[in-house]
């Protein structure tokens, strides 16, 4: 895995003047453990899960892993950068729709039109903005670049004018609301409430075939691991330190000569790109993308997993997202009402009483061990910093 190499990530988009800041953290001690962790995760996802789980369960897991990808992005933007984004569904949706449009057109064949268009829109020919998606060379990059562009547009306007905190959260939520209303309103070209359904093929492979479903699962699992490796490098880089600094004291960072707006923008855009990628992979895994999957409620549900797992950690969001999505499937089928209460209660209890998420239990336990140990050995600044890392900002 790429995470093993300690080289700093590409800082081409790092807005910070790369001057005299020392390397973030001497993480040589961690290298072996990280490599082992990745190997373990990869073994679990690539070997154990396909062996143990039935085809149906495996495709459910694929779906959860997509949600986990969104969660990784939210972990960066919210956990690290302090930007609570309640509209990740928008980016998930942009990625999903871009992919679904391409697959729909590919299903329809050259010159063909998606089935629903004749049904609702009575259109004679493809709308102009659908046309480029016929080419995979446009559609595939678009699944990531389109969400990033939208995030860049909104983010650069909003962060530059120092709109933040609750204001930003509400704006991001309003964006989700506007997008859903727009999608439903333009039924003739977007499929309306139904969304884009009945996706049969994936670049020439039949999605009904369990073997191909398995392949989609492997692509998703691999992508998630790659994103995690990338994120680990990002948050351990100089930029990652800067992002946390902006979260904890934006004004101080500004006084030090950095531009907090650019720092936040990068995190927000990266999170959007991850959500877009997740949406794009969600489509072949589930075969549908619709407004109900990307509106306000699903957008907040993305945040639940992150909060439950531990917003400021690397793995917390992933495990939290998978756990919450799994619990939803397990419980909501049998007891739909109970699940809603449970979901609400989970959110209230975790956010109000355990703001660091379940991951902070682990950190708390470790800190207790560490406290005992440091009394024995004398105070260690490195150990203290490590304990602090999982703490959550007040704001």
């Amino acid at each position: 895995m790429t995470a093993v190499t300690p080289a700093p990530p590409s800082v081409a988009d790092d807005p910070a003047p790369t001057s005299v800041v020392p390397p973030a953290r001497p993480d040589g001690r961690f290298r072996l453990r990280t490599a082992a962790g990745f190997a373990f995760g990869a073994a679990l996802l690539f070997a154990v899960a396909p062996l143990v789980l039935s085809d149906f369960r495996l495709s459910l897991l694929a779906k959860y892993l997509c949600v986990a990808m969104v969660a990784v992005g939210i972990g960066i933007a919210w956990g690290r950068g302090g930007m609570l984004t309640l509209g990740q569904g928008v980016f998930f949706g942009l990625g999903g729709y871009a992919m679904a449009m391409h697959l729909k057109l590919a299903d329809a064949g050259p010159g063909g039109m998606p089935d629903f268009m004749q049904l609702y829109g009575q259109l004679d020919e493809l709308p102009v903005w659908w046309r480029p998606f016929a080419s995979p060379w446009f559609a595939l990059p678009a699944t990531v670049l389109l969400p990033m562009a939208v995030a860049f547009g909104l983010g650069s306007l909003v962060f530059r004018r120092r709109v933040r905190g609750a204001y930003f959260a509400i704006l991001s939520q309003a964006l989700a609301a506007a997008m859903v209303i727009l999608l439903i309103g333009q039924q003739g070209t977007t499929g309306g409430t139904n969304g884009l359904t009945d996706i049969k093929g994936f670049f020439g492979y039949d999605l009904d075939d369990p073997v191909n479903q398995r392949m989609v699962y492997f692509i998703i699992a691999g992508t998630l691991l790659a994103l995690l490796a990338l994120t680990r490098q990002l948050i351990r880089s100089r930029y990652g330190e800067l992002l946390v600094a902006v979260r904890d004291g934006e004004e101080r960072v500004r006084f030090l000569g950095y531009d907090p707006a650019s720092v936040k923008l990068v995190a927000y855009v990266v999170a959007a790109g991850m959500a877009g990628l997740a949406g794009a992979l969600f489509v072949p895994a589930v075969g549908i993308i619709s407004p109900a999957l990307i509106g306000i409620v699903p957008s907040i549900e993305f945040v639940i997993g992150v909060a439950v797992g531990g917003r400021a950690t690397l793995l917390g969001p992933v495990l939290g997202a998978v756990a919450v999505a799994w619990a939803r499937t397990a419980l909501s089928e049998r007891f739909p009402g109970t699940w809603t209460y449970l979901q609400g209660l989970l959110f209230v209890v975790v956010v109000a009483f355990l703001p660091g998420g379940l991951a902070s239990l682990w950190a708390l336990a470790r800190r207790r061990d560490g406290a005992v140990e440091s009394r024995r050995r004398g105070w260690s600044p490195l150990g203290r910093r490590r304990a602090e890392r999982t703490e959550v900002p007040a704001a």
């Binding site: 609750a166 309003a174 506007a178 727009l182 209460y341 959110f347 703001p355 007040a394």
Partner: protein, 295 residues
């Protein structure tokens, strides 16, 4: 000309609903920096209160008259309970209040579903409010919308007077302007907070009563309105009611005009873009309290 006035009035009546919802939010957000996502469910509580009262009281007119104060108290009490149980612990973490209250709103929605059933219910409007007022020039204005406008304006007037003239209002303003200074001056800020929350949530109850005149009552009725109302508060600026009043009507008119010129869905997008553009010009909202803070 007639069309123009018709659209203008539609916009104003959308604005009146927004204003009723946003008033309570502006109050609690301004004073305590609390973002209460359960506000939408307090609206729902007000609406269901009207429904329940109508089941027991014959005569739609009387039930509406009774519903106004009862819904205020019901929603207000729910607000105070929420404040005591949860929000009190989270004053230092405004973003987390948003998430916690969203969890609460999920539970309240499910509670409504369990108690009243998932399908929407409907109330009868009093006869007095079902007709139209005919204005010269062939213009008609629906009575129920006129009533809501009057209710919203009455709420603004009452709130303004209360804030300006009563001792409680003075305390609230003091806490908004400088919480620490108010506290050392002997103002019981915790009690003031609770009262503010009662009033703010109660206003949501009133909004709920008003909404029964416009459409069906359902468990998710609050969710869709709450975001628009939050946008009003954000654009209006924290801590001042006049910002909310102006922005509510402005957004209502913009929405109605946009809907008339294009479609409902495009109008929503226009409103969103207008808000982001506006925040470029005044990032802290239309009116702000002058402070010496760095933000």
């Amino acid at each position: 000309m007639t069309v123009l006035f018709g659209q203008l009035f539609t916009g104003i009546s959308i604005g009146a609903v927004l204003l009723l919802i946003a008033l309570g939010l502006a109050l609690t957000f301004g004073q305590m920096n609390v973002i209460n996502m359960a506000h939408g469910e307090f609206i729902m509580a007000g609406a269901y209160t009207t429904y329940v009262l109508q089941q027991s009281i014959t005569g739609a007119g009387w039930s509406l008259v009774v519903a106004l104060p009862v819904a205020f108290v019901v929603a207000g009490t729910m607000g105070v309970l929420l404040e005591i149980l949860l929000i009190r612990r989270l004053y230092a973490r405004p973003l987390d209040t948003l998430l916690v209250t969203w969890g609460v709103s999920l539970m309240l929605q499910q509670l409504a579903r369990d108690v009243f059933g998932s399908p929407n219910v409907q109330t009868r409007a009093p006869e007095l409010l079902t007709g139209n007022v005919a204005l010269p020039g062939g213009l008609t204005i629906a009575n129920n919308r006129l009533f809501i406008l009057a209710l919203a304006l009455a709420a603004v007037a009452a709130l303004t007077l209360a804030l300006r003239l009563t001792p409680l209002g003075r305390r609230i303003r003091a806490v908004v302007q400088n919480r620490d200074l108010a506290a050392v001056s002997g103002i019981p800020t915790a009690r003031v907070d609770r009262t503010t929350f009662f009033i703010g949530s109660g206003l949501a109850g009133l909004a709920g009563v008003a909404l029964t005149l416009l459409g069906p009552i359902g468990p998710t009725m609050g969710t869709n309105l709450i975001i628009d109302a939050f946008l009003v508060v954000v654009v209006g600026g924290i801590g001042q009611l006049k910002g909310s009043v102006i922005v509510a009507f402005a957004l209502g008119v913009l929405q109605a005009t946009g809907e008339y010129l294009t479609t409902l869905s495009v109008a929503k997008v226009i409103v969103f873009v207008a808000i982001v553009a506006f925040l470029q010009w005044r990032p802290q909202g239309l009116f702000t309290l002058r402070t010496r803070s760095l933000a």
